[in-house]
C-alpha cells in the first residue's frame, strides 16, 4: 500500500505543480498581452489614479484636478474653461481627450517615459510618475482681448508672433467649459449631448479645426504669387484689367464692390480690394504659380501640428481658368483655417520667412525640471524678401487709407487685409468677415504680432467693409494687447 500512497501523493503534488506552471504562464509570459487588452480597465483606472499634470498659460495653471474618491478617481477641473478651451481641449473619463490634453496626454498623465529618471527600476517597482506640466506660448492678455472682441459673435481668432511662430492666442466662440465633460456622472453624458447638438457648435475649435473661404484676405497670397512670378514688376503700374471681368471660358461676369478698379494698379487694387484685378492676376500667374505660392504659405498641408493637428487648408491644384480666377480671390474651393490666415499675415510680417507655429513653450516634470523646450524653426521661405517689402507696403496701405482703417493703432505700424467671403448655396448664407493683419510697435525692429480674425454670419451691406468693420476692431484689440500699447 505504501507504494500506492506515494504515487497518489505524487499525483496530488503534480496537480499543484501544474497550477504553479500555469500561474507563471499568466503572470509572467502573458501578463503584457492581458494588460494591453482594451477591455482591461486597469489601464484607465491607473490613468486617473493621480492628479493630472497642469497646462499653464502665462505661468499660471488653467487646469486643476479634483479627487472624487471614485474608481476613476481624479477629475479634471478648468479655470476660465471657455476662454482656454480651444487650447486645452477637454480630458474626460468618458469621452477621452482633445487638443493639448490629447497631444500631451502621456506627459500630463505621468506615463511618458521622459518622466522616469530610472525607467527600468520603475518598471520593476511599478512606481507611477506624477504628471508633468505643459507651459503654453499663449499670452493671457492677448487671449482675453480676442475672446472679449468676439463676445456675442460666432468666430475665431489666431494670433502669432511672426518672428518665432509662437501662438499668442487661439480663440473660438461661442465656447464651452471643458469641465462639463470631466468625470463619469450622468450629467457628463447630458452635457456631451447638449454641446454636440447645439447649432452654434461650441465644441468646434474654429481657430484650427474649421476652414472658411478666405475671400479677399486671400489676395495677399495672390499678390505674393504675382510679384514672385514677375507678372507684376511695378505695384504702381496700371494693370490691363477690365471691370467687370468675364471669367475665361464662361459668360459669367465678375464685378467689384468697389469703384475705381478699371485697370487699377496692384497697390490700388489691394487698397480697394478689386476682385477683377486679382482674378485676372491669378489667371496670368497660372495654376502652377498660384498653387505653389499657396502651398508655400501652408495650404494643402494636412500634417501641421501645433502639436494639436490643424485642419488642412485648401487650394485646388487642378482647375480651369474660371475656377482659378475665383480661387485667386479666395472663393470657389479655396478654404483656410484662421491659423492658416494668421500664418499668411505672419509670413508677410517676417519678410517671407514663415515660422512653424507652436503652442507649447516648454514641458516640465512635476518638480519643474525641464523635459522639453520649444525651438522656433522656419517652416518655409514663402517668397522673395523683395516681395515681402512690397507686400508689407500694400498691407500698411489698406489700414492707412483703405478698407482696414478700423485696425489702426496709434504709435504702431499696422498692415492688414480685409475679406468677406460668400458662402452657402447660391451665396445664401451671411458672409464671413475676415481680417488678417500684423503690427509693429514703434521702435521695435520687427512686427510683434500677426492676427487672423474671422466672424461668421457677419451682417453687412457692402462686402469688404464688413471685414474691416466687424473683424477689424477685434484684430486691433488683439494686436494692441500683444504689443502692450493702448488700442486707441
Amino acid at each position: 500500500m505504501t507504494r500506492y500512497i506515494r504515487r497518489a501523493a505524487a499525483f496530488c503534488l503534480l496537480l499543484i505543480l501544474a497550477l504553479l506552471v500555469n500561474a507563471s504562464r499568466i503572470q509572467v509570459f502573458q501578463a503584457d498581452e492581458y494588460g494591453a487588452n482594451a477591455a482591461n480597465r486597469r489601464g484607465v483606472i491607473a490613468r486617473y489614479d493621480q492628479p493630472r499634470g497642469d497646462i499653464l498659460v502665462g505661468g499660471r495653471p488653467v487646469t486643476g484636478s479634483k479627487d472624487t474618491g471614485q474608481q476613476l478617481r481624479f477629475e479634471r477641473t478648468y479655470k476660465n474653461g471657455p476662454l482656454y478651451a480651444p487650447i486645452t481641449g477637454f480630458a474626460s473619463q468618458v469621452y477621452g481627450t482633445t487638443f493639448l490634453e490629447a497631444a500631451e496626454d502621456r506627459l500630463l498623465a505621468g506615463t511618458s517615459p521622459l518622466l522616469s529618471p530610472l525607467p527600468l527600476w520603475e518598471d520593476f517597482t511599478r512606481a507611477q510618475q506624477p504628471g508633468g506640466a505643459v507651459h503654453t506660448t499663449i499670452e493671457p492678455s492677448v487671449q482675453q482681448a480676442a475672446y472679449d472682441g468676439l463676445a456675442g459673435k460666432q468666430g475665431a481668432v489666431a494670433a502669432l508672433d511672426p518672428a518665432t511662430g509662437r501662438i499668442l492666442a487661439l480663440v473660438s466662440t461661442p465656447s464651452y467649459d471643458p469641465e462639463l465633460l470631466s468625470g463619469n456622472e450622468r450629467s457628463v453624458a447630458r452635457n456631451w449631448q447638449r454641446l454636440n447638438g447645439a447649432p452654434s457648435k461650441p465644441m468646434l475649435n474654429r481657430a484650427i479645426r474649421q476652414t472658411y473661404p478666405p475671400g479677399s484676405a486671400f489676395k495677399v497670397v495672390t499678390a505674393a504669387a504675382a510679384l514672385d512670378a514677375g507678372v507684376i514688376t511695378d505695384v504702381d503700374a496700371r494693370t490691363k484689367s477690365p471691370s467687370p471681368y468675364r471669367l475665361p471660358g464662361t459668360t459669367t461676369d465678375l464685378v467689384n464692390d468697389a469703384r475705381g478698379c478699371d485697370d487699377a494698379s496692384l497697390r490700388d487694387a489691394f487698397l480697394f480690394s478689386c476682385n477683377t484685378v486679382f482674378a485676372k492676376l491669378g489667371v496670368e500667374v497660372g495654376l502652377g504659380g498660384m498653387a505653389g505660392t499657396a502651398m508655400r504659405f501652408g495650404f494643402n498641408d494636412g500634417s501641421l501640428r501645433i502639436p494639436s493637428p490643424v485642419a488642412r487648408s485648401n487650394f485646388d491644384t487642378s482647375m480651369d481658368k474660371a475656377q482659378l480666377a475665383l480661387s485667386s480671390i479666395g472663393q470657389y474651393d479655396t478654404t483656410a483655417t484662421p491659423l492658416q490666415m494668421a500664418m499668411v499675415a505672419a509670413a508677410v510680417a517676417n519678410g517671407g520667412d514663415l515660422r512653424a507655429p507652436y503652442l507649447v513653450e516648454r514641458t516640465t516634470d512635476a518638480a519643474g525640471n525641464a523635459i522639453g523646450t520649444a525651438a522656433s524653426q522656419s517652416l518655409r521661405q514663402t517668397f522673395n524678401p523683395g516681395t515681402a517689402t512690397l507686400l508689407r507696403e500694400l498691407m500698411v496701405g489698406v489700414v492707412e487709407k483703405g478698407t482696414g482703417s478700423n485696425a489702426a493703432i496709434p504709435g504702431a505700424v499696422v498692415g492688414g487685409k480685409t475679406g468677406t467671403a460668400q458662402h452657402g448655396v447660391g451665396n445664401s448664407g451671411l458672409p464671413y468677415a475676415w481680417f488678417i493683419s500684423w503690427a509693429q510697435a514703434e521702435g521695435s525692429p520687427v512686427p510683434g504680432v500677426a492676427v487672423a480674425v474671422v466672424v461668421e454670419d457677419a451682417a453687412a451691406d457692402r462686402a469688404d467693409i464688413s471685414g474691416g468693420g466687424i473683424a477689424g476692431p477685434v484684430a486691433r484689440e488683439v494686436m494692441a494687447a500683444a504689443l502692450r500699447v493702448p488700442s486707441a
Binding site: M1, I5, A9, Q27, V28, Y34, G35, N37
Partner: protein
Amino acid sequence: MTGTGMTGAAADVKSVTGRPEAPLPAVRVPRRRGTELALLVLAVLLSVYGYLAVGLAKYDAIPPGAAGYGAGLGLLALVAHLAVRLRAPCADPLLLPIAVLLNGLGLVLIYRLDQETPQHEAALAQLVWSTVGVALFIVAVLLLRDHRVLQRYAYLCVVGALVLLVVPILFPAVNGARIWIRVDGFSIQPAEFAKVLLAIFFAAYLAANRSALAYTGRRIWRLQLPTGRVLGPIVAIWLTSVGVLILERDLGTSLLFFGLFVILLYVATGRTGWIAVGLLLAGFGAFAVGTLEPHVHRRVEDWLHPFASIDAGEGPNQLAQSLFAFASGGLLGTGLGDGHSILIGFAAKSDFILATAGEELGLAGLSAIFLLYAVLVARGCRAGLALRDPFGRLLAIGLASILALQVFVIAGGVTGLIPLTGMAMPFLAQGGSSVVTNWLIVALLIRVSDSARSLPPDAYGEDGA
C-alpha cells in the same frame, strides 16, 4: 524537517530491538509542540501584517480593527494549539500553523475586498465562521481519541452524506447551482460537509474490502474485475453522489468526489486498471455533460475562448477579468489593497478570491500559497505512510486528496487551466460551510498524524505493504 527526525528515531527503535512486536522503549519522541507554537505566532503576525498593509495602502492609516483582528486570530490559534498540546501532543507541527496562516490570509483578502464593497462586508461573518470552525476543530481533537473509532460509523456517515447532498434539491437555485440551504438569510452548503463524511465511508469500506476488491472476481484482459457484491455498494453510492451533484450543477464537487474515489480505490487495491477505467469514465462523463448541459457547455466555451465576450462587445466575463487580475499581479504583485480584482464582480470574495491573491501578492505570493497547500497535502500523505492501519492510511490520503483536488479544481478554473466550476478555495474563500469543513479536515489530519507519530512502527501491525 521535524518529521524526518521522528521517522529516524522510530527506525532506530526498530533496529535496536530487532523485533517489531517489542514494547516501546523509553525513547522520547520529539513532539515539536514548541515549533508549532513558534510557527503559529509567525502565521498570526503575517496575517496581522497583511491586515495593516491593506489599511495603509487604502487609507494611509492603520485599520481601526487591527488590534481586535490580531487578538481574535491569535486567540483562535492559541486555543487550537492548547487543544492539540493536550490531546494530540505528537501531531504534525506544520498542519495547524498552515491552516491558521491560510485562514488568516483569507480573512485579510476578504477584508481587503470589503473595502471595495462597503454595502456587503463579509470579513466579520468569515471571522465568526472561522471561530466556529476552530471550535469544531477543538471539539474533534478533544473528543476523538482514536481515528479508528470512525470506522464504526462508516454507514452512518454515508447516510448522512447522501442526505446532505439531496436536501439542497428542495431549495431554490442560487446563481445557477442548487447547492445551498437557505433559511432566514443564513445559508450553508451541505456538500462541503458531505465530502468529509464520504471520505470516511470510502476509507472504511475500502479498508474492509480491499483484499476482495483486489484479488477476487473475474479477469477481463489485463483488468481484474472484483465481484459485484463487493464493488456494487460503493459504486452505487459514488454514482449517486456524483449524479446528485450533476443535478444540482455542482460540478466542482462532483469532480472532487470522482477523483477522491478513484484515488482511494487505487491506493486500496493498487490496480492501475482502476485509474484507466476511472479516467475513461470521467472523460465520457465530462464530454457528455460538457456537450449536453447548457450551463456546463457555457463554462467549457468560456474556458476555450475566455475573451469571446469581449470580441462580441459584451465586455470581459468573470474568467477574463480573473485572467486580467492575475496578469496585472505579475511577478511581485501590486501590493495588498492596490489591485483591482473587484472588477471580477460578485464572486470576487468566494470562487475568485485567488485572483485577488494573484493580483496583489503576485506570482511570488501565489506560489507561496500553493506551496502551503502542497505542504499540507504532503504532510497528510506522510501521516498516511507512517500509519499502519489501512483505514487510517486511506483516511489520511483521502483527506489530503480532498485538499489537493479542491485546490486544483478551483485554482485551475480561475487561472484558465481547466473549465471553471464553482468551488471554494480551502480556508481562503468566503464561505462558512467551507471554512468549517476545512477545519474539520485539519482536525482529522491532526488526529491521524498524532497516531502516526506517537506509535511505534507496526503497532497496528496489520499492513505489510
